[in-house]
Amino acid sequence: MTALASATQHATGSHPAADQPDEARAVGARKITPYLLLIPGLAWLVLFFIVPMVQLAVVSLESKFPGYPGYYYLDLAVWNYRDALSEFWPHIIRSFVFAGVATILAFIIGYPLAYAMAFKAGKWRNVMMILVIAPFFTSFILRTIAWRQILADEGPVASTLNALHLLPGGHITETWVAVVAGLTYNFLPFMTLPIYSSLERIDPKIIEAGGDLYANGFTTFHKVTLPMSMPGVLAGTLMTFIPASGDYVNAELLGSDISTKMVGNAIESQFFRVPGGYPTAAALSFTLMAIILVMLFAYTRKFGTENLL
């Protein structure tokens, strides 16, 4: 807006004797243009984000119409939230624990990968980049099913570990390990790419300067490289943690029937399978969103929003 205003001022200022109405019309058009450009995006957001959101909020406060399954009426049923939480709190906790562990694992795997791509890959950089992105060429569901094969009891991982007697219980699939492994795998690129892009922007001379100023390799990483890549780490952890905590595909395909279900699975079953489950599904969705917003707020307060932008 400031740039716009000063541009306008400049335009009028530089032609004091110019034809006034023409000038005014040109200025007016220039002021409107940015808003015109916003219309398609705004319309999309209103139609597919704001409206459904309001609708969801309304549904979360509705009650079942007695005797007419599938019909609801609005009676500000805030106890829907209480009921949903008392039944599904383990799912919610599991969601955040799984997403948290997956985020930490993705960071442990993704940071060295991004670092290697940014500083050590040389001519292999593009190949590595393609390998990181390549999974997007196939369906998310298919890849998760493929993990089911890899981790299955007869598969290479479980059979090897079993042969070595290293797998208590004898299974990987149907356990939380498989769900977390699936989440970690599926969200790894979302961790790696933002970190890579912030590492890649660092002038190598700045890292050399660390060495020049008496910091050895480890200290330079700790004091210079890591802090400078924090924007990428922040973006990567959010882009992993938020969608992972709402994910239900991994728990559905790799987990067991009960003990590894996440909140996404509860919402899905309440919505599609349980008769009259709409209000509960809506209440769970809102609860999930609220918790994520609070966590996001606390996280960015701690690490600084200016790093995120």
Partner: protein, 380 residues
């Protein structure tokens, strides 16, 4: 100091005092020889400039002193301590990088305190404040580098290196990104700082004026070798290669055969005219030479002079093809048949300076004792 830190995870910081020596240093990148069997001594406490065109190896040379590159062969020494093979953080050497390379996530004060903190010195912040005062940046100590101008960042970069009191401070074209006025100011400023702290400064630049203004000693580099080294005035007055003559200031050069001697002078001949050059000012005593005179040593005459002194050489008539007024002096380009176009600087001492115009017929004369002669082709 070194003993104390050798046990820490930092690795040993070498203590070394004295002159910097490069001993037959060569650096190859694949087939490309960046620095070619170069030996150099920089006396402790001097301001030394490495001057040369881009790609001449001057920056590679600097990076080998810093430890950011290792020589393919040869040794880097300070005093009698051999630093070859040691890591940058083990050397008592600091660099002011061309792009400043300040840490953007740290404040100015933290940037400057970075070195002392890594060395585990007490009062790192106080030392940083002292260094910032030296470069007159105390008022911006709390800022972060991205919020500052190029000139300000430059001063901080100097402070960040100086605060460590390194045995050798390296400056890698530190003024390259500044505008002309700021560059002049910083030249004076850096010289003042160097004089007040008394450290060895090695300054890499492609700007001959910058090198001559600041340095006690200038080494002119070309193709990975030092062509000539000496005090700025000495290099300018008596270049010993054609490359130095042309790179350091302007030089009017023409190739001519030696046809005889006359006392202390060698006599060369070109376009039917004979010119003298002192034997002591020629690197060649037979065959063909490149005969050179600096533009400000030439005098213009609008009529054929009759008052020629014994030592004076004369060519002409020629024609003025260009006149450019530069304030203090005026530059004329004069074409004399049989010679390359000559550049002449005349001081604007009169009220109405320009009396000679394009197309005028002129004669050029100079004192033969000001001339120099070098080998005609650059020796590869």
């Amino acid at each position: 100091m070194a003993g104390f830190f050798s046990s820490s995870s930092m690795g040993e910081l070498r203590t070394a005092k004295g002159d910097l020596h490069l001993d037959r240093v060569t650096k190859r990148f694949g087939d490309f020889v960046a620095v070619d069997d170069l030996s150099l001594t920089v006396p402790r406490g001097s301001f030394f400039a490495l001057l040369g065109p881009s790609g001449c190896g001057k920056t590679t040379n600097l990076r080998m002193i810093a430890g950011l590159e290792q020589p393919t062969s040869g040794r880097v020494m300070i005093g009698d301590v051999d630093l070859t093979g040691s890591r940058p953080y083990q050397r008592p050497v600091n660099t002011v990088f061309q792009s400043y390379a300040l840490f953007p996530h740290l404040t100015v004060r933290e940037n400057v305190a970075f070195g002392p903190k890594r060395r585990g010195e007490s009062g790192a912040m106080a030392k940083a404040d002292e260094a910032l005062a030296l470069v007159q940046m105390s008022h911006l100590a709390g800022r972060k580098p991205p919020q500052m101008s190029g000139g300000q960042q430059q001063r901080v970069a100097v402070a960040r290196a100086l605060v460590n009191r390194p045995e050798v401070l390296l400056l890698d074209e530190p003024l390259g990104a500044l505008d002309l006025k700021l560059r002049r100011e910083m030249q004076v400023e850096l010289k003042r700082i160097q004089t007040s702290v008394g450290l060895t400064f090695i300054h890499v630049t492609h700007d001959q004026e910058e090198a001559m203004t600041m340095a006690d000693t200038v080494a002119v580099m070309n193709h990975g070798r030092i062509e000539q080294q000496g005090a700025p005035a000495e290099l300018y007055d008596l270049p010993r290669t054609r490359f130095v003559a042309r790179f350091l200031g302007q030089a009017n050069l023409f190739d001519a055969p030696i046809v005889g001697t006359d006392g202390d002078y060698l006599i060369v001949e070109n376009a039917g005219q004979r010119f003298g050059v002192k034997k002591s000012r020629s690197t060649v005593t037979s065959g063909t030479v490149s005969y050179g005179v600096r533009p400000e040593k030439l005098r213009l005459d609008e009529t054929e002079p009759t008052d020629l002194r014994p030592n004076e050489c004369l060519v002409g008539p020629g024609r003025v093809t260009d006149v450019s007024f530069t304030g203090v002096s005026t530059q004329y380009i004069v074409e004399v048949p049989g010679f390359p176009p000559a550049s002449v600087f005349e001081q604007n001492l009169d009220v109405d300076p320009i009396v000679t115009h394009v197309g005028d017929e002129v004669w050029l004369r100079w004192n033969a004792s000001h001339a120099f002669a070098v080998a005609p082709e650059e020796q590869k």
